[in-house]
């Protein structure tokens, strides 16, 4: 039932990532410098206003999910001036392994958004070639149908969750009539369901963590050395725009039973790839650079 299981949770958390959408984080830190004289609540208010401004600016400047671009075309220029040559080496390796990538908006939702986009895109492509409903679409509909009871079982309010659940289910129902282009427009529509279905992935991830609290607890230790699973979900998983760590990734892949490969590009010169759960053969592949996820396409895609 549970493809990741205890072992994969144990092995993967040792590489827990610094979760922060770089741009967002830097802008926030800069905004916090000159506020020494204000009361703490005024500072909070300012910070939140500024965070909202930053998110709004990012929304204007970056599409939720960009067009397909070549790996070196997209990344080489970005790292050309970087003194750490490991990045350039890593990009060459990725360029040989992958054909293209899509940039995902840096608003803290990049993992959930990239994961969901690529999964749905692959589903649409596979369904387009078949006259009848493909087994994966049947399966995921069942998973989502069954998720409602789980959400309520872990204590979510039905009146809060229904809309998200319905939107996700409706989107899956539309898959047979969608083309990849139509899906792209839909998932980039600021006024549409995109942000709602992305948030639903957070709720699914949190639900899986709560349902398996004993197993996840050791990896979500608080500063006091205690693991408060509910608090972790409330403060680290559910809030919109809150970055994602490996615990959330494991939980979401388990809940949907959709595996993911993550390629880590850093200054080492050797991108490392991790598969959740171990041993799976994911269609969804994401590029991770400290603080951010983008979508990767195999040379065969």
């Amino acid at each position: 039932m549970n493809p990741a299981g205890d072992d994969s949770a144990t092995t993967t958390t040792t590489t827990t990532t610094e979760a922060a959408d770089g741009d967002l984080q830097r802008a926030l830190e800069a905004s916090l410098r000159d506020v020494g004289t204000m009361s703490a609540q005024e500072q909070d208010r300012l910070t939140i206003d500024q965070l909202n401004d930053i998110v709004a600016t990012i929304a204007q400047e970056q599409p939720m999910v960009g067009a397909k671009v070549g790996i070196s075309e997209a990344l080489a220029a970005e790292y050309a001036e970087n003194p750490m040559k490991g990045f350039a080496l890593g990009i060459d390796i990725l360029n040989a392994k992958y054909s293209a990538m899509r940039r995902v908006r840096k608003d803290g939702n990049c993992f959930y958004r990239g994961f969901l986009y690529r999964y749905l895109e692959a589903l649409v492509l596979a369904q387009q070639q078949q006259p009848t409903t493909i087994p994966e679409l049947v399966r995921i509909r069942e998973v989502v149908k069954g998720s409602k009871k789980k959400l309520l079982d872990v204590g979510y309010d039905e009146s809060a969750m229904d809309m998200f659940w319905e939107m996700f289910a409706e989107l899956l129902d539309q898959v047979p009539s969608l083309t990849p282009d139509a899906l792209h427009l839909k998932l980039n529509d600021e006024q549409g369901v995109s942000n709602h279905v992305v948030w639903f992935c957070r709720a699914l991830s949190a639900t899986q963590i709560k349902l398996n609290a004993d197993r996840f607890a050791p990896f979500i230790m608080g500063e006091d050395g205690l693991a408060d699973v509910d608090k972790f979900c409330r403060t680290e998983v559910e809030p919109v725009n809150h970055e994602c760590e490996q615990v959330q990734i494991i939980a979401l892949t388990e809940m949907l039973q959709v595996p993911v490969t993550i390629e880590y590009l850093d200054a080492s010169g050797h991108p490392s790839s991790i598969v959740f759960p171990e041993g799976a053969h994911p269609t969804v592949k994401l590029l991770y650079r400290p603080g951010h996820y983008d979508i990767l396409y195999d040379t065969t895609d």
Binding site: D44, M163, V240
Partner: protein, 204 residues
């Protein structure tokens, strides 16, 4: 965004089904048929200086809801470290950085009521209230809070919500006369503290 109306209709449906027994201390309703504006009345929690009062909350929602939080302010003036003395703005984590779409308007009202019960004096919106608590002048703080309750709060939750509350039409503390009156009350209560400070300054 298309989600807001769907979601708020669902919440409305739920709060309409609530009986007084289900939710004896909170009454939430839509304001003048706009799903984007709501009113709530919350009963002050037991064993607090607010226990005898009922407080009206003004709740506003944008079309970004529930991905963005509602804004909540006290329409009834209240003396509390985390409620702004002039605007009625209330500082609650879940309405700010910790908002998640899993919360509902009713949950937000419960959180605001919890703030009345657990004032956080360390990061006050109302510095006077915060300072009294921080200095350990709890009696003075509670006296002032009770005075404000006696002066501004309702005694009972409106039964249908159709009756406008006496407090809601009054000008708030930004009204010049009322404002000075209100501050006068707690300046009086603060005077012993000022006295002590002056004495210390003189003797030092």
């Amino acid at each position: 965004m298309i989600g807001w109306a769907k979601r708020l209709r669902k919440e409305l449906q739920e709060v309409r089904q609530l009986s007084v027994e289900d939710e004896p201390d909170i009454f939430l309703r839509v304001h003048e048929d706009s799903l984007l504006e709501w009113r709530a009345w919350i009963r002050g929690p037991h064993d607090t200086p607010y226990a005898d009062g009922v407080f009206e909350l003004e709740i506003k929602v944008t079309t970004e809801y529930p991905l963005s939080p509602p804004t909540v302010r006290f329409a009834t003036p209240v003396f509390h470290p985390n409620v702004h003395g002039v605007t009625g703005e209330v500082c609650v984590d879940i309405l700010k950085s910790e908002w998640t779409p899993a919360w509902t308007l009713l949950a937000a009202c419960r959180a605001v009521r919890a703030v009345l019960e657990h004032p956080n004096a360390d990061s006050p919106l109302n510095c006077d209230a915060g300072n009294l608590i921080r200095r350990g002048a709890l009696e003075e703080f509670e006296d002032l809070a009770r005075t404000a309750v006696a002066e501004h709060a309702l005694r009972e939750i409106p039964s249908s919500g159709a009756t406008p509350s006496p407090g809601s039409d009054k000008p708030r503390l930004r009204g010049k006369h009322q404002g000075s009156c209100f501050y006068w009350h707690y300046l009086l209560a603060l005077s012993p503290i000022f006295g002590v400070l002056i004495m210390q300054a003189v003797s030092g």
